[in-house]
Symmetry: D2
Subunit: 384 residues, 4 copies
Amino acid sequence: MIKRKICVVITARPSYSRVKTLLQAIQTHPDLELQLIVAASALLDRYGSAVNYIKNDGFDIAAKVFNVLEGENLTAAAKTTGIGILELSTVFDNLKPDIVITVADRFETMATAISASYMNIPLAHLQGGEVTGNIDEKVRHAITKLADYHFVASEGAKERVIKLGENPEMVFNTGCPSIDLAYLVKDCTMDFDPYQKYGGVGAKPDLSNGYLVVMQHPVTTEYSDSRKHIEQTLKAIAELEIPTLWFWPNVDAGADGTSTGIRAYREQHKIEHIHFFKNMEGTDFLKLLNNAKALIGNSSVGIRECAYLGVPVVNIGSRQHRRDRGHNSIDVGYHQNEIKQAIQSHLTNGKSAASSIYGGGNAGEQIADLLQKLTLQFHKTISY
Amino acid sequence: MIKRKICVVITARPSYSRVKTLLQAIQTHPDLELQLIVAASALLDRYGSAVNYIKNDGFDIAAKVFNVLEGENLTAAAKTTGIGILELSTVFDNLKPDIVITVADRFETMATAISASYMNIPLAHLQGGEVTGNIDEKVRHAITKLADYHFVASEGAKERVIKLGENPEMVFNTGCPSIDLAYLVKDCTMDFDPYQKYGGVGAKPDLSNGYLVVMQHPVTTEYSDSRKHIEQTLKAIAELEIPTLWFWPNVDAGADGTSTGIRAYREQHKIEHIHFFKNMEGTDFLKLLNNAKALIGNSSVGIRECAYLGVPVVNIGSRQHRRDRGHNSIDVGYHQNEIKQAIQSHLTNGKSAASSIYGGGNAGEQIADLLQKLTLQFHKTISY
Amino acid sequence: MIKRKICVVITARPSYSRVKTLLQAIQTHPDLELQLIVAASALLDRYGSAVNYIKNDGFDIAAKVFNVLEGENLTAAAKTTGIGILELSTVFDNLKPDIVITVADRFETMATAISASYMNIPLAHLQGGEVTGNIDEKVRHAITKLADYHFVASEGAKERVIKLGENPEMVFNTGCPSIDLAYLVKDCTMDFDPYQKYGGVGAKPDLSNGYLVVMQHPVTTEYSDSRKHIEQTLKAIAELEIPTLWFWPNVDAGADGTSTGIRAYREQHKIEHIHFFKNMEGTDFLKLLNNAKALIGNSSVGIRECAYLGVPVVNIGSRQHRRDRGHNSIDVGYHQNEIKQAIQSHLTNGKSAASSIYGGGNAGEQIADLLQKLTLQFHKTISY
Amino acid sequence: MIKRKICVVITARPSYSRVKTLLQAIQTHPDLELQLIVAASALLDRYGSAVNYIKNDGFDIAAKVFNVLEGENLTAAAKTTGIGILELSTVFDNLKPDIVITVADRFETMATAISASYMNIPLAHLQGGEVTGNIDEKVRHAITKLADYHFVASEGAKERVIKLGENPEMVFNTGCPSIDLAYLVKDCTMDFDPYQKYGGVGAKPDLSNGYLVVMQHPVTTEYSDSRKHIEQTLKAIAELEIPTLWFWPNVDAGADGTSTGIRAYREQHKIEHIHFFKNMEGTDFLKLLNNAKALIGNSSVGIRECAYLGVPVVNIGSRQHRRDRGHNSIDVGYHQNEIKQAIQSHLTNGKSAASSIYGGGNAGEQIADLLQKLTLQFHKTISY
């Protein structure tokens, strides 16, 4: 029997973490063939070279697509998407996949969605139906309207995708594959030395009495404010003097403000209790979180994996606005005082209650099974 | 006072006809400045050079964007869209519009939508919320999810856009500006000689006892069947031996099948009662329709303008599937017999009843007024 | 032993004819592997679909590259080259050729040259060192400066390439592979019915008493004059009333003027002795020429193959200006009278003397042998 | 009188320094209008944001072109050039320059040359005819073959351009405009505090007893060796323990190896006498050089400006190979011992003799005068 060819396009480090168990489930499925495309910032050193982790995890890469146009402004984001379409359409022409999978809602994932749907290749979308408060909102729902199959991560997401006019029979709440990874580490201690294993720069505070983790990305539509925001977070963390592990942001229009803010702060201040990492292998990162006193920032990992693990989260600003969440998260604005107080509140209360709102740990396998069974189609209309 | 800059992107001849009265209303509005971009097939000779009509109608063109990649296959359609994004983002950077308007649902209009929305320029979409049975369905609704304002053409369309999760306050049923043009010709006879004025090829049958009009486009997702379909229509028309004015199709993946089919048929058969046109100025075309015995094909003009004018229509195949329609249209499949019988039925019954389902004749002015009054915004979330 | 991978990029129908014997020699060479890329107008129906001849001749196509941007103006020519670089660099990344071959001097061949040389892939250039009087002049010599190996077609060309500063050890006068094909037909009659085999449009004059062949391309830097030029040739041929087989021009900035000129002339005049072809398989075309009374136009086939075959040529305008030539060619300007008189002069004098100035018939094999033996290198400096 | 429009495309920080006096001469010329385009790495923060210096110097920017594709590999260099053509052709279409000027030989300058020459815009090339030992060699001479006018920097360069087949009447030895800037500072002391004015990172050694300057770029065709090379230079400088001001490299395929090498070295070693700068305003940089004990590296500034100023230079590796030079330069390989010994030799001998081999200080004005007087042309053939 000819295996069904499933093409997955990974455009960034966090997207890889989200679909890793799905990639494994496709690769080991007897009736599926994985065609893995690594693109955009997932290939670039200064955004954590997800490509290296992908190779180390044993995946073959069918094609690499370089499409990030330098500029770190909104025009460059549009052009990166245009170049992505030019490149991916050639790749799809060569690979002739039976189904293409696009992940979540980063701006450049639109290139995957357009290339596949325009070329009449059935398109599956992971993590549609969610809500937030920035440009991602447009991209995510537009991709839903281009996609033929929807693998969503929560009941709320399923309802929203159906309300968007999609055929309910094509919407599957499988939970999020990122929770599959959290499932594997939920009883793990931090069994490695992060300084030794991942390098990075800055102080190397003692982590044995607990630590904070910070991960704050720029927010696209508030572009010019990125630098101001990150400075507030830096001040809050600096004042607390608790050992802190800080992760650099992804590429995005506005990355510049955030990164520059961090670099400038570091040059002007002595900060003895913060260490900065560029990136970390997914499982290690989850172990780190599982044992952290709190996660601070605006990463979706706070809403998803940390909810499942019961890790307290201080969620800053609008980036995760309106997303379904568990009871582990305190939402705050950008001001240093708010941030500081929320951290202190978490420190007082300790570990939060766990929640399976984003899945129970077998999303990858569920999705792979569906990919094998689904009727291939690329012809759809609004369903009401 | 600084005029609000309204940038309209026209990518094809039929799109121009649809928005001509809107362009006039923007141009004459005291508080608006029109920035007109002509792109894609609207610039190309073999698709009717809409650009010439635009100039003759007195509009200034702010920028021309050549982005059609030759190939007439689906990959080329994707790449045309990618190139469109590269080019339009530069144009928007230069023109700095306050609002960008994208029209309807042709595949390349996605380039307008992505460039504007990614660059945080408020985006208005004309003719969202409609339904059909092919790829247009995906493009149209995806653009709805990228757009901030929706000027729709019917109550049915308004309801569907709102169901898609858009804020009802941003959805306006203004009717379709194309009906504004139909309004102007509804009492007109055909006061010109089409052979003399528009050239074309083939026989020049006498039109004084009535005539048929044919306009049939390839249907994207049934690409390989285009040639077979057009041959059926050619046979039906050939057998009827009624004077017929036939219009060549637009560019689209599949144009080749349709065009080749027509060319091959012409070389193999003597057909004394059909004349072929490449294109016609919009008002003349409407006068032609207004005095026709019937329109045959799959153009949306049959559903819209012909409904308003009460012109009988034989609507072939899936292209207008599920679109709101008046009582002037008989839907048929691709077989020559079905087509022939439907034409004969119309010939027996004569003119149909008129319907204002797609507007009452002042859409252009209504939209221009709204464009002046709307609060500028580009930040949106799903509304439920 | 691992075979050396030789990647040849074909961008147009005439380029294919020029290298066909080389492709065969590479394909049959025990130590070489052919990687054939078909690109640009060679893929397009309206420029003769060279791709179909290539497949029929039994070559496998490693990749197709669609990069022709519609517009038929000079900006589109530049952009076509830019898109070509984007696409070819991906293809080269996948195919990992040991040597890339670019042919002659069409504007889009620059994309092949830039992609290969920038990616440190050894680049061979066919037919460098020639001289003409238009933009090709710039492209050809610029490619010489990017190329590592030069397979030239005449002693004059060899001298010029060396004068351009190239290392004489890397410049090889192998003759032109197109002459290899002429060698095969030099004793052949026209053993097929061109009307039946190749269709085309127009009259079908009796060819048994001899005929003319016309092939006239637009001249890039005289863009706006293309239409005027072709009309002069049409008038000259029309007045002669000799059976004539006319070939449509290739794509090029300006194609529009030439094509439109021909189409308009056909619609306005009855011409009983001219038949128009879109294209013809190379060997058949050579047989046609070999038995023609004269070739009229500005194709290089008049300078090369016709010199070898001794076919009289009327060479119009600047396109072949200063190219090395045999004694078969009369050079004229664009005026109908000049053209007419030159044809009449040839008709009086009959067949011309043959010349091996562009090679003796085994260029393909010579080049293939060299491709196997050459030391691979991509690092060069000016040699004086 | 209508001013002649002169369009200059700047793609990198060092190119700007080279043409600054020309830009001034064009801007102040009564019959010329400057159209300045800033593109590629000249716009990017991590390559020194030349655009900021350009603005501070009072030049208006007619257009910005973002075309750097991230990837830092050779494929990305090719694609950056392709994108440059797509973007620049649009810009030229809008600005309609009378002459386009492209500077020197960086890979992306080819985009300027192709866009202008394909669009029939007269093209002038600065600094053709020079020789080096890497890929630049191909780019530079290929651009010469695309250009209509040549403003070269030395008699040797003039001879070589003519030998390349260019019309001698179109080749002008004006000297290099970068020497115009050196002319202005030749009697200047370093009248500013570089640490205070330009920030940077690392130690702040006392400069009052003299200092070294280092500027070493990766060499494209030796891509993988970049890191090894830079480590040798770092070791040589580290051992000398002389105050050193070190400049980061430009973007180029391979930048990564060099930059990573420097960063890694800094993290692993305490180096008390080296300060690192990202960039410096041109005049300040020249003052810095004018007062340095020696320049170490492979920058062309060592061959040109330092020759004029009599500053001793240790020229490492192949990047300036075979370039015309004065008596101020010692050429060495990449090994730390060679580098160290050459520096010590210069320290013993002191200041070198000055040389006007690259011009006498008024190149900008000479070129501007020629740009006003030249007959406009874009049609050329090889001149022998």
